[in-house]
């Protein structure tokens, strides 16, 4: 059984270090993400540095921390896993890591009540380390956009903008915040936040950053900008969604022949399984077979019945 325990502080510093290393060796972003995701999945990465607590003279926390060594090899849903964490909390009831580790099984089983109770405790005892994670989960698992924004913005104030990445490593939290704003009707604000983050010199693009941005450009009728963003997206990770939104933008610009071609590319990539994916939920701007079929149907109507037979379609009709 795969254990996928989470962490925060180490993740942030590891991410920064890796970005720095890979920037120096010019590694491809997609490879960088694969490596990051692999690292984030390692069980050992979840364990806080117990020696640090000792060196700070916090012996109770160090003891609670060392108790968590017993978690190795246990599944996070199991009673053994949860019991060890309870024992760690009996040693030190302010050990934020234990609350967070306990919360994961509740999160993944959809128990938002118990999950939130545990994460509230984690945030209470380590706001800087836990707010970003709670905010991300509120977005990813519950579409609690307002709650996610609130957590990320509070973290931003606490750490002077150095908010880091999602628990999955795929999104800078500013990108997630931008998406959240866009989902509560503040699309322009969402775009502005995402654009600003992408312009940051130290930003390394997430798997879907440009795709989300392109989809938001399309929603706000900025089709040329959408095409530009999709070019960037193709360099990061080429998938059905990028071809689909490319087709949508081209159609709106009256470039029907290209729109037709991209719609078919979207269809082909979809069948090949090159799609947006989240192991637990469905992200915003993900598309489905139905969306592609509707787009192709629309293009057939717009372009006439000759489209499907391969007859050349004149742009700007």
């Amino acid at each position: 059984m795969i254990l996928k325990r989470d962490k925060k502080q180490e993740t942030r510093s590891m991410t920064k270090n890796l970005v720095s290393i890979f920037e120096r060796v010019s590694i491809k972003p997609i490879l960088l993400f694969s490596l990051l995701l692999a690292l984030f999945s390692l069980p050992s990465s979840a364990q806080p540095n117990c020696e640090l607590f000792k060196s700070q003279g916090n012996l109770k926390k160090a003891e609670a921390c060392e108790k968590c060594y017993e978690l190795k090899g246990l599944y996070q849903f199991s009673k053994e896993f949860q019991t060890i964490l309870d024992e760690a909390l009996e040693i030190d009831s302010t050990f934020a890591y234990a609350y967070r580790a306990k919360s994961v099984a509740y999160l993944k089983s959809g128990d938002f009540i118990r999950w939130k109770e545990l994460m509230d405790k984690a945030v209470e005892y380590d706001p800087e380390g836990m707010l970003g994670y709670r905010g991300w989960c509120r977005y990813q698992f519950f579409r609690d956009y307002e709650g996610a924004i609130s957590d990320i913005e509070e973290l931003d104030r606490l750490v002077d903008g150095k908010i880091g990445y999602s628990a999955t490593g795929e999104y800078h939290l500013n990108i997630a915040k931008g998406i959240c704003y866009s989902q509560i009707g503040q699309i322009e604000k969402g775009i502005e936040i995402i654009e600003k983050q992408i312009r940051e010199q130290k930003h390394f693009a997430g798997l879907y950053d440009y795709l989300h941005l392109a989809a938001l450009y399309i929603e706000t009728h900025q089709y040329e900008k959408a095409l530009e963003a999709l070019k960037q997206q193709e360099e990061e990770y080429d998938m059905s969604e990028s071809a689909y939104y490319q087709s949508l933008a081209l159609l709106e610009l009256g470039r029907k022949e290209e729109a037709w071609e991209w719609a078919n590319i979207a269809s082909q990539k979809y069948d090949e399984g090159r799609r947006m994916h989240d192991g637990y939920t469905h992200p915003p701007h993900k598309i489905y077979r139905k969306d592609i079929d509707e787009l192709i149907g629309k293009l057939q109507i717009v372009n006439g019945p000759s489209t499907s037979s391969g007859t050349k379609i004149e742009d700007g009709d």
Partner: protein, 170 residues
């Protein structure tokens, strides 16, 4: 039909909230496990494997999958969920259940929270509908592990806004 609705109402009144929630010191095998309860569960629903082998939907690494993809599920609730003008509550409602190796679902349980994730009770006009509609879905994806059909836990979380379904997760 009336009898069915009455029994469902009684059932909801009885359970009120998720019965799988245990005190921290009284864990089941896994967090979220739903033991069979003869008072509320369909005797006809059978697991293909043992209780100890029921997995989580994401263990098969396919993510959340749906028959006819997710839009099919969204359409089903959009077409069949009737908004009650007097029930304007907001928050989250989760219905968790087991899908067996034949794609049949059973042992449904409900959990309800307000917008602050505090336990609450939605109007029965909302919960009954969501519960009944979820149970009406006859077939769920059949998932395999090592080429063998598995039983797995799945759930639907309804994000409710002013008594309307705003989103369905996962």
């Amino acid at each position: 039909m009336k009898t069915r609705l009455l029994s469902i109402s009684l059932f909801l009144l009885l359970i009120g909230c998720d019965q799988t929630k245990n005190k921290d010191q009284d864990y089941l095998r896994w967090i979220g496990d739903i033991p069979f309860d003869e008072k509320m569960d369909d005797q006809e629903f059978k697991l293909c494997n043992t209780e100890a082998q029921v997995l989580q939907y994401f263990n098969m690494e396919k993510g959340a999958v749906f028959i006819g993809e997710k839009p099919n599920l969204l359409n089903f609730f959009q077409d069949n969920f009737r908004v009650e003008p007097t029930a304007k509550q907001s928050g989250w409602i989760r219905i968790r259940f087991i899908v067996n190796c034949e794609g049949k679902a059973g042992r449904h349980r409900m959990l309800q929270a307000d917008e602050d994730f505090k336990e609450t009770m939605f109007s029965s006009s909302i919960t009954e509908q969501l519960f009944n509609l979820t149970k009406e879905i006859e077939i769920w994806p059949i998932l395999e592990r090592y080429e063998k059909g598995v039983d797995y836990y799945f759930y639907l979380t309804f994000k409710m806004k002013d008594g309307q379904i705003e989103e369905i997760l996962p």
